[in-house]
């Protein structure tokens, strides 16, 4: 109880300090040159309802490629460091509740569908590849928790990841030849503003990013799950 009160005091103090800092903060009202260009020309050039998406996928597409690569490296390093011997001992676990298994059987397809919905609609709604990928990976967590006997194959995840990564880069290179530059989205027609098939290649690119992120995060979860019970 005393410890909790001290924690509460510390949190309140931190909140006060942050409030103090925040109230003294004055944001930069004007946009600088680059931001101004994105804000004024972005909508007409890219045709995505969500301006953030258009910046992330097209103007700063190369950065997104870098981020995906970092995730890939993390997954690869984890798999390398925690490389398990195949003679791992199955520890005695409590049997999962029957109700949880049934509920996850019902909910899993729906959660996968919601993840896919988030990254396909990335150009219209807040959301996108990374968020959708995270939802896919959380569905994978539910799968691992509820169906303990089920083995998910690394090979399948690696295959999805490789295919979507290659497709992402190929789409980017296609942009150099058919349109203005790397990851230019106007290789497909821009379509009607606000519909699912609009904003050129953005939905396609975002789908590949979402699949890649989902596969990478799931790989990380799988590796951690398989190594936690191994003896030192």
């Amino acid at each position: 109880m005393i410890r909790n009160s001290i924690l509460l005091l510390i949190i309140a103090g931190l909140a006060f300090i942050f409030y103090h800092e925040l109230s003294a903060y004055h944001g930069n009202d004007g946009l600088n040159e680059t931001a101004n260009y994105y804000a004024t020309k972005g909508l007409s050039e890219v045709g995505a309802a969500n301006l953030v998406t258009s910046v992330v996928v097209t103007y700063r597409g190369l950065d997104t490629l870098g981020e995906v690569t970092i995730l890939f490296l993390t997954a690869a390093i984890l798999a390398l460091m925690f490389k398990t011997s195949h003679s791992q001992k199955e520890t005695q676990k409590r049997i999962t509740s029957e109700l949880l298994i049934t509920a996850s059987n019902v909910l899993l397809p729906v959660i996968f569908l919601v993840g896919i919905y988030i990254f396909i609609n990335g150009h219209l709604t807040p959301g996108g590849g990374f968020q959708g990928g995270a939802v896919l990976a959380s569905a994978m967590v539910l799968m691992l928790l509820s169906i303990s006997g089920r083995k998910i194959k690394h090979a399948v995840l690696d295959f999805i990841e490789a295919i979507s990564g290659i497709a992402f880069v190929l789409l980017g290179i296609l942009g150099i030849f058919l349109a203005g530059g790397f990851l230019d989205n106007s290789i497909f027609s821009l379509g009607t503003f606000g519909e699912l098939f609009s904003a050129g290649a953005i939905p396609v690119i975002y789908s590949f990013i979402g699949l890649k992120v989902g596969a990478e995060l799931s790989n990380i979860i799988l590796v951690l799950n398989q190594t936690q019970n191994v003896e030192k």
């Binding site: 409590r94 509740s97 109700l99 949880l100 019902v106 909910l107 729906v110």
Partner: protein, 118 residues
């Protein structure tokens, strides 16, 4: 049309009141299991009523809100069941008011054996 909206708002208000009851219950009940009881029931009905009321105010959101209601109805009781099961497994004590515990009688010998193995 206006009546429908006011009905929706009142339903939402009732939902909020149930959520308030849930929080009072979670504060006053003597042990984990009773808190789960109070928390799950009232918060499920409260948030369902809140969603439904907003659905009456904005009829074009209704389908999506019904999807959300279905999700809450399936997931919330299951998560509280999993929590209660975990609490009983790690032997969180029941309150002194508790009269009988049939689950302990039936599974108690099993867990005692497991502890003997260690």
């Amino acid at each position: 049309m206006e009546y429908l909206k006011i009905t929706g708002a009142v339903i939402t208000l009732i939902g909020a009141i149930f959520i308030l009851f849930a929080s009072i219950g979670i504060l006053r009940m003597p042990d984990v299991y009773n808190r789960i009881q109070a928390g799950t029931k009232a918060s499920t009905l409260g948030s369902i009523l809140g969603l439904f009321g907003i659905g009456l105010i904005h009829p074009d959101w209704m389908l999506k809100l019904l999807l959300l209601i279905m999700f809450v109805l399936i997931s919330n009781p299951v998560s509280s069941h999993v929590l209660g099961r975990a609490a009983h497994y790690i032997k969180v004590p029941l309150s002194d008011l508790t009269l009988l515990d049939k689950l302990e009688e039936d599974t108690g010998s099993e867990t005692a054996e497991k502890e003997g193995d260690k």
